[in-house]
């Protein structure tokens, strides 16, 4: 449902990331379909799915996936530039200030801590105002304290933006913060 936060929970190897990939149109199932905002995902070709992602989806990854040759500002600007938005720099600057990195705009990923890198990734994801945000183990590479701060920030931004959140995690306590949980085991949803 729109604005909902759904957690996909399961042990390592249960198929969480695979499911996420299918739901985002990054992977193609052997059978079945996915419908996002009324659109049948797998009736679109690869470029069609990419265009849908551009319009509707945002991503946060466990490994941050920042481009190392770009500084923090440029990483956040990138999706705006790809979408051809005019005021990419201003929007990106505002979002980085929102996540507390206003003083680190010109820093490269290699000079940022893990927590800071994930903040940049959050800013990058939310700057496009996605309708659906997919987060794959966003705290997997962070220590407990940093991870907790990142999760708080994630939920804050999510509430501000009114985005629907799909969170993949193996952490039960994190899953509990979401309004609904979906459990996976060996590739199947379990009650």
């Amino acid at each position: 449902m729109s604005g909902e936060a759904l957690a996909i929970v399961g042990a390592s190897g249960s198929g969480k990331s695979t499911l996420l990939g299918l739901l985002a149109g990054l992977d193609v199932p052997s059978s079945g379909n996915v419908r996002i905002a009324g659109e049948e995902l797998f009736e679109l070709d690869e470029d069609g799915r990419a265009a849908l992602r551009a319009r509707l989806l945002g991503f946060v990854f466990q490994s941050f996936q920042l481009l190392p040759a770009l500084n923090a500002l440029e990483n956040v600007m990138l999706p705006l530039e790809l979408a051809g938005r005019e005021n990419a720099a201003a929007l990106a600057t505002a979002m980085l200030e929102r996540v507390g990195l206003g003083e680190r705009l010109r820093h490269y990923p290699r000079t940022l801590s893990g927590g800071e890198q994930q903040r940049v990734a959050l800013a990058r994801a939310f700057v496009m105002r996605p309708r659906l945000l997919m987060a794959d183990e966003p705290t997997g590479n962070l220590d407990a304290a940093t991870g907790a701060a990142i999760i708080d920030l994630l939920f804050e931004l999510n509430a501000e933006a009114g985005t629907t959140l799909l969170l993949v995690t193996h952490d039960e306590s994190l899953a509990a913060r979401c309004g609904r949980q979906l459990r996976l085991a060996a590739g199947r949803i379990v009650p």
Partner: protein, 828 residues
């Protein structure tokens, strides 16, 4: 437009991160290498076209070995064209005790018809255009002759039987060529005063030149009239083919320098391919992320393609500018070959260089970029998908064909281009094969060494593919440099040492029959050994086996031989420095009937065989005789050699001059002048001075080639660096694992140094071996003397190799140890 803007920003960002520098530098080197040679060639072409009139001193020139026919002079007058004449020969100029071989040129009023002579009142004073030709009783000498004779303007100089006053110092003679005649310093006098010198004798080698100028159409009509009427021994030069000997030497130099420039292009192509492959690998994740954000495959490919095109354009411009600067160096190095001032080049070579750069980019960057295109967005979640295929060499086929086409185009001749292409391919295969074998072989000998040494050598074998490319690139560049330094020096030194210390170093020509005894007496009086004296008769080759011979049947050198007169000789006894390779020396029967003995090289050039009956014309009379022997000559003996020797009965009755060679001990500076004072018509040629001068000219071309090879060496080092970067991530991870397992920083550095040292030494040794092998082949097959190798080459090669990999070793160690191991392990 938006895509272009984003591509530009991506380029700036990647440049800032150091991602594209090797690629850019490789393109700059390739473009600069081709453009520098292209700019130089363009300047020379423009100069030859612009200065063609000056280069021949007229619009049209007829040159021959007989006095100018009255028929030609009359026809020029009838057509209202201006005309002038000159006559040229070499002879001894004397002032007091000093004597010097000079290129004597007698000129008529009106010379030159195009261009201006320049003269100065003394040596090292400002010159000015001459307003005419030397006044009666005076000569103009160039600075070199003035210096050798110690002559100033106003001094007296003897030439043959005549005494002249030096009227001016000749500083500029635009139609001076590059032949032997023009290597000697110049003495210019009036043509109508040549006869009085007594130097024009039967058998003398004289060039007679008729110059013509006028409006374009009448000159063209005269040329059309003259062409079918040209006699044997006459040749016609017009603006299109002015100074063929100058054009030929310049063309050959340009051809060779152009081909060497392409070695840099070939190595740069490897660097471009390696660095683009690395770029692709490092952008796999970023590409997948952008696919995640919604960028389509085609949009992303367009972004990357534009980014590379913009980089290519920028690198091509920089390369063009660098090439423009570099061509000044080439021009300065070969200034001795140039006779005229070179104008500024056009932009065309820059465009050609840029095209080469863009062709390299398309041919060697596109294949790895195309692989990037296939990376799926799923890679953001599953890093095991989307890795590019290894190998896929077929993707580089277009680029390889482009380079092959460039080689053939630059060679200017398909056959030569294919030979050079084949040579490069063979060199590549041989170097790569030996390099690969050496890597594996060396790794086997690592047992017994320390940990670092063993690990370093094992790494060599583990990364054999990348290391082989590095060895290939570096050893090619090093081999070229070693060949042009050590091997060239060795060959020259061996050749010099082959000539005995007491070998003849002077030739004396134009000895008249009645002077023979007296000349030999001069030798005896000066306590020098009497030299062997040979008769020389000038004759023209007219028929073979009763069929008349025409120069149109021949090409190039053969044609030139047939057009000119031969220097024939006769003798009953075979010269000691000649050996018979076919047939037999003159028997009594041959002496009675008449026979010929010919040199094997000229026989091959002109298609002469044993038993052929050759017809000759000498002094208006004809004779013919069969070939009964073929001789091999020892040119290095520095003794007098004849292509054609007849039995005495055939030629003894013809007017002849005599020629000889002798050894003048060093330090004896007066014998030559004594001889020429006693016999003023003699010409004494100092062979060592002539050879030194010719060698100086060749040295200039070699230096220019060495300079251009530096581009190739630079490209070779760049390939090394690109290959280092391509394996850097792997090295960093290995170093992290080593350190996690307890290895010290020193051990990690030592292992990397061992690997690079081995690379440098293998490359250097391969380069040394190649230079020695090629030196041996040239000595054995071309010069036919044993090759004496300089042992230092085996040290120089590895030393240079180590120097080239030194930076790589330092940079690699810095990268491997620059980050905490945990970070490298996490990113694996």
């Amino acid at each position: 437009m938006a895509t272009l803007g984003l591509a530009w920003r991506m380029l700036l960002r990647d440049w800032r991160a150091g991602e594209l520098r090797v690629l850019a530098l490789a393109l700059v080197l390739a473009v600069a290498s081709v453009a520098s040679v292209g700019f130089f060639a363009d300047r020379v072409r423009q100069a030859l076209a612009r200065e063609a009139q000056q280069l021949i001193g007229a619009d049209l020139v007829v040159q021959g070995d007989r006095p100018v026919r009255g028929e030609l002079r009359d026809e020029l007058a009838r057509r209202g064209l201006r005309q002038a004449q000159s006559v040229g020969f070499v002879s001894m100029a004397r002032k007091g005790e000093a004597a010097q071989l000079a290129g004597v040129k007698g000129v008529s009023e009106g010379y030159p018809l195009r261009g201006r002579l320049r003269i100065a009142p003394q040596v090292n004073t400002p010159d000015a255009p001459a307003t005419g030709i030397p006044a009666p009783g005076t000569v103009w000498v160039d600075e070199r002759l003035a210096a050798t004779l110690g002559a100033r303007v106003g001094d007296a100089i003897e030439l043959g039987n005549s005494l002249f006053k030096v009227g001016a110092i000749l500083t500029m003679e635009p139609d001076r060529g590059a032949s032997f005649f023009n290597i000697a310093p110049r003495l210019m006098l009036r043509e109508d005063e040549v006869a009085a010198t007594g130097l024009v004798q039967p058998g003398s080698r004289i060039w007679y030149t008729l110059l013509a100028s006028g409006e374009r159409e009448p000159v063209a009509q005269f040329e059309a009239w003259l062409k079918p009427k040209l006699a044997r021994g006459e040749n016609l030069q017009s603006l299109e083919n002015a100074r063929p000997e100058v054009r030929a030497s310049i063309d050959r130099s340009q051809q060779f320098i152009g081909l060497t420039a392409l070695l840099a292009v070939i190595l740069a192509a490897v660097a471009v391919g390696l660095s683009t492959r690395r770029y692709s690998q490092r952008h796999l994740d970023g590409y997948a992320v952008m696919r995640c954000f919604g960028a389509s495959q085609s949009r992303l490919f367009a972004l990357f393609a534009w980014e590379f095109l913009l980089l290519g354009a920028a690198a091509a411009i920089v390369g063009g500018l660098a090439g423009y600067a570099a061509q000044y160096v080439i021009a300065a190095m070969v200034s001795g070959l140039m006779l005229v001032e070179l104008p500024q080049p056009t932009l065309l070579p820059a465009l050609q260089g840029m095209l080469v750069g863009m062709a390299l980019l398309l041919g060697f960057s596109l294949p790895p970029l195309l692989q990037l295109k296939n990376v799926p967005a799923l890679r953001v979640i599953r890093r095991d998908v989307g890795a590019p295929q290894q190998g896929a060499l077929a993707g580089y086929a277009a680029g390889t064909l482009t380079i092959a086409g460039l080689l053939i185009w630059q060679a200017g001749d398909t056959k030569l281009g294919l030979i050079v292409l084949g040579g490069f391919i063979l060199a590549g295969v041989v170097f790569a094969g030996f390099g690969y074998a050496a890597l594996h072989g060396l790794a086997r000998f690592s047992a017994g060494g320390g940990l670092s040494w063993r690990y370093g050598l094992a790494s060599l074998r583990r990364r054999a593919g990348a290391n082989t490319i590095q060895i290939l690139a570096l050893s090619l560049g090093l081999a070229a440099i070693l060949m042009l330094t050590f091997t060239r020096g060795d060959l020259l030194e061996t050749w010099r040492s082959k000539v005995p210390a007491d070998a003849p170093n002077r030739f004396v020509v134009n000895i008249q029959p009645e002077q023979r005894a007296g000349v030999l007496e001069v030798f005896r009086d000066n306590k020098l050994a009497e030299p062997q004296v040979y008769p020389m008769i000038r004759g023209r080759y007219t028929a073979k086996n009763a069929q008349a011979v025409s120069e149109s049947e021949f090409e190039d050198r053969a044609r030139r031989l047939v057009e000119r007169e031969f220097n024939l000789s006769y003798m009953a006894v075979k010269p000691a420095h000649n050996s018979i390779v076919a047939g037999r020396w003159f028997t009594d029967e041959d002496q009675k009937n008449g026979a010929l003995s010919v040199e094997e090289g000229i026989a091959k050039t002109l298609g002469w065989k044993l038993g052929d009956v050759l017809g000759w014309q000498v002094a208006g009379r004809s004779f013919s005789a069969p070939i009964t022997s073929v001789r091999k000559l020892d040119w290095d003996s520095m003794r007098v050699n004849f292509f054609v020797i007849a039995t005495p009965g055939l030629l003894a009755d013809f007017p002849a001059s005599f020629v000889s060679s002798f050894h003048l001990p060093p330090g004896d500076s007066t014998f030559t002048s004594k001889l020429s004072q006693a016999y003023t018509n003699l010409t004494v040629v100092d062979m060592s001075a002539i050879m030194a001068q010719a060698q100086a000219l060749i040295e200039q071309v070699v230096r220019a080639v060495q300079f251009v090879f530096l581009f190739a060496l630079g490209a070779g080092v760049l390939v090394l660096y690109a290959a280092l970067l391509a394996t850097q991530d792997e090295r960093m991870q290995e170093a992290a694992v080593m350190r996690a397992l307890g290895a010290s920083r020193a051990q990690v550095v030592a292992a990397q140094r061992a690997e690079f040292a081995a690379l440098g030494i293998i490359s250097g040794l391969l380069a040394s071996a190649a230079a020695v092998a090629i030196g041996w082949a040239v000595a054995h097959f071309v010069f036919q003397f044993p090759y004496r190798m300089n042992g230092w080459i085996w040290l120089a090669g590895p030393a240079l190799g180590l120097a080239c990999v030194g930076y790589n070793a330092w940079s690699g160690a810095r990268a491997a140890l620059g980050r905490p191991p945990i970070l490298a392990l996490r990113e694996a």
